[in-house]
Each structure stands twice: as C-alpha cells, then as structure tokens.
Symmetry: C2
Subunit: 367 residues, 2 copies
C-alpha cells in the first residue's frame, strides 16, 4: 500500500493506494469517527463490491443507499434519494458517508455529505480509473443542471480516499480508456517525463498490469494533490486541471449526459486545446500529434461529434464555470508539460479551432 | 447607522443596522465585487422593496428571482427555481446573490449561493425582525426535507448583513412577535441585563419605536456574533442559540411547516425548556414564570398544540440535528442568562416535561 497526503491544513487527508484494500477493515475503519455509516453506491457496483465493503465494516451500523447508474442520474432527483435514505435511517451529524463507485457516485455522495445536516464526514472509495485519478481527490462535489454540468455543488474535502486497484478488474475497457484520458492530462499539463513513461506503458495499463496501474494512479494523484494543495478553490492554477474540459463539457451537454463518457469528451476536447495551442504558436505540430497519438493508443476518441457546429460549442461554453464576468477562459498548453489558463487570445483563434476538420487532422495518427 | 463585526478570520463580515439603508446605494454596492447581481426575494416582499433595492443597484446587471412565500416553500423544488433563474441569466462565478426577505429567503438564497458553481458571493438584506436578529447572521443556510427541518444545507457566511429597520413598518404584528421570541432568547441564554431591558421596552418594540428597535436588534446581533465567532460550526456553545428549538422544531414538523411561525414554535418550546430546567432544580419557579410572562407580553403562544402527545414530540425530536450517536441533547438553562447544551439528564425529566399541562401552568401568567 502506498500513501499520499493532500495538504490542506486542517482539511488535509490521505490517499491510500493498493490491491485488495476493500478487504482491509482497518484501513477504512481508521477514518470513521462515529458508529453510523451510509454507503452510497449504484446498481452496477453494488452487486460487485457492496457486500465486501459491508463485511469490512461489521463494527459499524451500515445503511446502504443504491442509486441508478449513469451520468444521466447526476441530478437533484437522485440526490434526494440519498437524503431520503439518510433521514429514513435517522443518520445524525456524527455519521460518515462512504462513496463506493465512480465519479458520479463520488460527486453526488460528496455533495450529499457536504449538505446533510450542513456537513457530515465523507470517505471516497473510487472504483473506476477516472474517479481514482481525478474526481475522488480534491473535494469538488456536485450535480448537473439541465442548463449545465456540475453547476450545483460544494468544495468539500473527504477524510480519506481509499483506492483499491483490484476493482479495475471489473471495469469495462471503454471506461478504463476514459480514465486514461485524465492520466494523460497530468502529463500534458505539468509532468512531461510522465508523458514519456505513459508512451512506454500504455499497453501495460490497458492490460491492467498491477504495477503499471499503481504507478500511473500514484503519479496522477500526486500531481492532483500538488495542484489542489496550492489552490483548493480554483482561483488560479487548479483550473489547469480542466485541460480539454471546456470543449469536453460542451460535447457532453450537446450529446446529452452519458452518450459520451466524460473521459472521451475530455480526450476530444484535449485535441481541440492542443490544436488551439498550436495555432497560437505555443506548441509545434509534432508535439500536438505526439499527444494525439497517445490518446489514440489509449483507445480514446480524438474527433468531436460530427453534428456539432462551431455555434453549438460557443453556446454551451458560454455557461462554463471558467467564464468570469462574461469573459471565456481556456486551459491551453505553453508546451507539453506546462498548461496556462487564459482569456487572452484572439476570438478568431477560438473560432478557427472550432471549425477545424478533426477527422482529417487525426487520420494519419491512427485515429 | 451602527456597524457590528462578525469575527471569523478570513470569513469576517460586517452587520450594518440603520433606517432607510435600502436607499443607500453605497452601503450595499461597497460589498459587491463583480457586475452581476441576483436578488432573491418572494411574492410578498417584491412589491414592497424590490424596486427600491434595484434602483440602489443601478450600476449593476440585476436579475430578480421571485419565489412563492412561506416556510412550506423552503424545499428543493423552490431552490431549483433559484438555480433556474441564475443559469437562465447566465450568472457566472463572479456574481453576487442578495437575499431580500425573511428567514426562508435568506436560508434558501444562502444555500443557493453556497452551491451555485460551488460558491458565489452572498449578501443578506433581512426584512423581518426574526431574520434581522437571528437567521441572517452566522452563516447557517438550508432547506427543509419532508422528514425534518433544515436537514439539508451549508455553513456559508455572507459578505455582509444589511439591516434596514424601516422594513419592519410593513411586517404583520404576528411576525413581529415571532421575531421577539428570538430577541428574548438572547436574554435568556447569555444576557440577563438585556432581559431586564426587554421587560422595560417590550411595548415600545411592539409599537415599532425606532430607537428601541435599533437597540434590541443591535444587542441581539452582538450576542449572536459573539457566539458564532466562538463556534462557527456549532461544535459547542453555538448550540445554546437553539434554546426552545428542539421542542419548537417538533411542533413545526408535527403541525406542518407554516402553520405555526418559527418564532411561535420557539416560544412554546422555550416554555418547555424553562419547565424542564426548573424540574432539574436549575431555575426557580419564579424565574420560569418571569420568562413566560415576557413571552406572553410579546404576543407569543406559550402552550404547545393541544393535539401533540409526548410520543409525537419524541418521534420528531429523534431526527433533530442535536442528536449525536443516538443521544438527544437539549439546550437548558442553568439560570436566567446562562444556557447549557446537555444530554446529561434523566429520561424521566424529559418525559415529565412533555406531559405537563401547559395550559394550566401558564394560565395565571396572562396567557
């Protein structure tokens, strides 16, 4: 087991990474202060891991809350099911909520924990690669609104993140690839050597080789912990974690939540951010193509939906959280391994980026 | 204008108290950082004060959001109307939400501000006595759930509280009395001299004499600011502010939200807390009766609903937020002017308290 620390003063917490951690009663129990525990999970994950986790928590009063699966359910209607479960079981302010599942479960259970009785303890047990390397770390929680993704939520830090890499054994290959989009992101925004490591190990990762997985998760979480520790509430550098996300959110919103996986939309969005960085003269064509090639090898889409016009992107991007007083800011690359957040670009550069034929652009890169 | 400071480190903020502050553009504008403002108010308050406030904010882009009035609407459904309004107007992370109205508006707008894009600026402009002396100060925000009051919410501090005492001129007498229940509470829990002052000025307050109102609001807010400054997240002394509230919440829940005003339920609940403190031998019968007499003179009910049995109270009190790991804690009085939060009482004392005939007990006190 490896342990990382997210350094946020009195809100600091550990990330534990290892195999078979769901069976380690003491690893999880050590982070629970009261006797009441609610496990929030979904219909897909519950049959796989709920019994196992419940057995490890036999010393506690456990209430399971099982939600429908999917981004389409990341809504206030589903959030109500959590509150109904917590209040139905009369959980009090000393209770702990455990999120067992992917990013949607973590985001919703975290927001429920932030809001229930104005805040109860919260532990993340992410079971997808995407949530293990990204959404479970850093305290962003929330739900979607019909007019925008993640528009309602809270910054709320967990007491611990417990990553059992064994759970990736049951993850569909498509979702593993989606998680790799965020792993590759860390290389692109702040860790160029990691990019080289990924190029050497991408097949091992897709084959679920435990040592490679553990290393990739550790380096990703370490990068995220560094960035979050420097900027918890995203007033600056933290926004670089959203490379590809502004374009990606527009894709997810336009296609309807759940049609594209989040990581898939981020991958296509990252290609757009790479292309725009190239147009601005910040990265070379060869660098853009090197990054695209890695995304393709990870099994990810690199072309936005055919039916999305530039105007569709602009409309959805106007309500993005990175808009401040009407000005759109984007995460772009100064070079591979160094991202910036900037609103300082000509409007035409954005419009040109949105009008590129990405099918043609990526054709010779294996896409 | 008088100014008080709520001392919470980087979350500190001022409370401004005075006449005609809604017309003082600079008092409010000084607290707004961006250009976008949403005013959240309700159908009752909007015709009275929305135009006036909007005129004072002519330098900003103002989006009004007008909700239905009443505690019955302090729900997820109504909260969604706020999010719909904010997103419909494309308000960004630099926006400021102003709550213009009573406690329900302040609690909902505050929770919306805490949650919208994971937190935007928030200003309280309370227009009822209850919200001016209690709910607008201290950062408690939230909504009700069918299974319990204020069960979902956040601790979220405003950037300022602006109290225009002139707005009390349009407040129904019954609501003014309800606010006085919380004013009297401050005397009972931490300011015995204030209790004497209130006995001398209760008629002036009910007649809306400006100097008396201003003094009562100032002393109430000062008491609340002291307590909140010492214990922002209610891990200790802050819970004393809930004198009468555990019994009162049971009354509100049992009667259906809105049938009794919050302050009315608190008044009857305070009588029960007084009686229980007397049974425990902490205060004298004469002290209990002195406090009840003041509540009666303030125009408040001092007898719980006739149809509420002891079992009804116990059922509703079991989900109260002051329950920790199954143990019910109550705010009781060690003496007039000194409250404690304790779970250390014989179960029979509580049951005896719930079985008292309060009609008979208060009959000779003017009730």
């Amino acid at each position: 087991m490896q342990t990382l620390q997210v350094d946020l003063g009195e809100r600091s917490y550990p990330i534990e990474i290892g195999e078979h951690l769901l069976d380690h009663a003491d690893v999880i129990s050590a982070r629970i202060r009261g006797r009441q525990v609610a496990i929030v999970t979904n219909e897909t994950v519950a049959p796989l891991y709920l019994d196992q986790l419940t057995r490890s928590l036999s010393a506690f009063l456990v209430t399971p809350i099982i939600l429908p699966d999917g981004e389409a359910h990341k809504s206030w209607q589903t959030l109500q099911l959590i509150f109904d479960g917590l209040l139905g079981a009369r959980l009090d302010r000393g209770a702990t909520i455990i999120a067992l599942g992917g990013g949607v479960i973590g985001d919703m259970a975290g927001y429920a924990a932030a809001s229930y009785q104005r805040g109860v303890d919260f532990i993340q047990v992410p079971t997808t690669l995407l949530s293990q390397v990204d959404s479970s770390v850093g305290g962003k929680t929330g739900i979607n609104h019909p007019l925008g993704k993640n528009m309602i939520g809270a910054f709320y830090q967990p007491r611990a993140v417990i990553i059992d890499t064994t759970t990736l054994g049951t993850l569909p290959a498509r979702e593993l690839s989606a998680g790799l989009a965020e792993v590759i992101k860390y290389g692109l925004i702040c860790d160029a050597p990691f990019l080289g490591w990924l190029e050497a190990h991408i097949e091992s990762l897709r084959a679920l080789e435990p040592k490679a997985l553990s290393e990739a998760i550790y380096r990703s979480c370490a990068a995220k912990a560094r960035v979050v520790g420097a900027d918890e509430r995203e007033s600056g550098v933290r926004a670089t974690l959203n490379l590809g996300h502004t374009f990606g959110h527009a894709i997810e919103t336009h296609q309807g939540y759940g049609a594209w996986l989040h990581g898939e939309a981020v991958s296509a969005g990252t290609v757009m951010a790479l292309e725009m960085s190239r147009q601005l003269g910040w990265i070379e064509t060869a660098e853009r193509d090197r990054a695209i090639r890695l995304l393709v090898r990870a099994g990810l889409p690199v072309v936005p939906p055919q039916d999305m016009a530039a105007s569709d992107f602009l409309q959805h991007m106007a309500v993005d959280k990175k808009v401040l007083d009407g000005k759109l800011r984007l995460v772009l690359l100064k070079k591979l391994g160094e991202a910036v957040v900037t609103g300082d670009f000509p409007r035409e550069a954005l419009e040109d980026t949105l009008r590129v034929d990405y099918g043609a652009l990526t054709q010779h890169l294996g896409a």
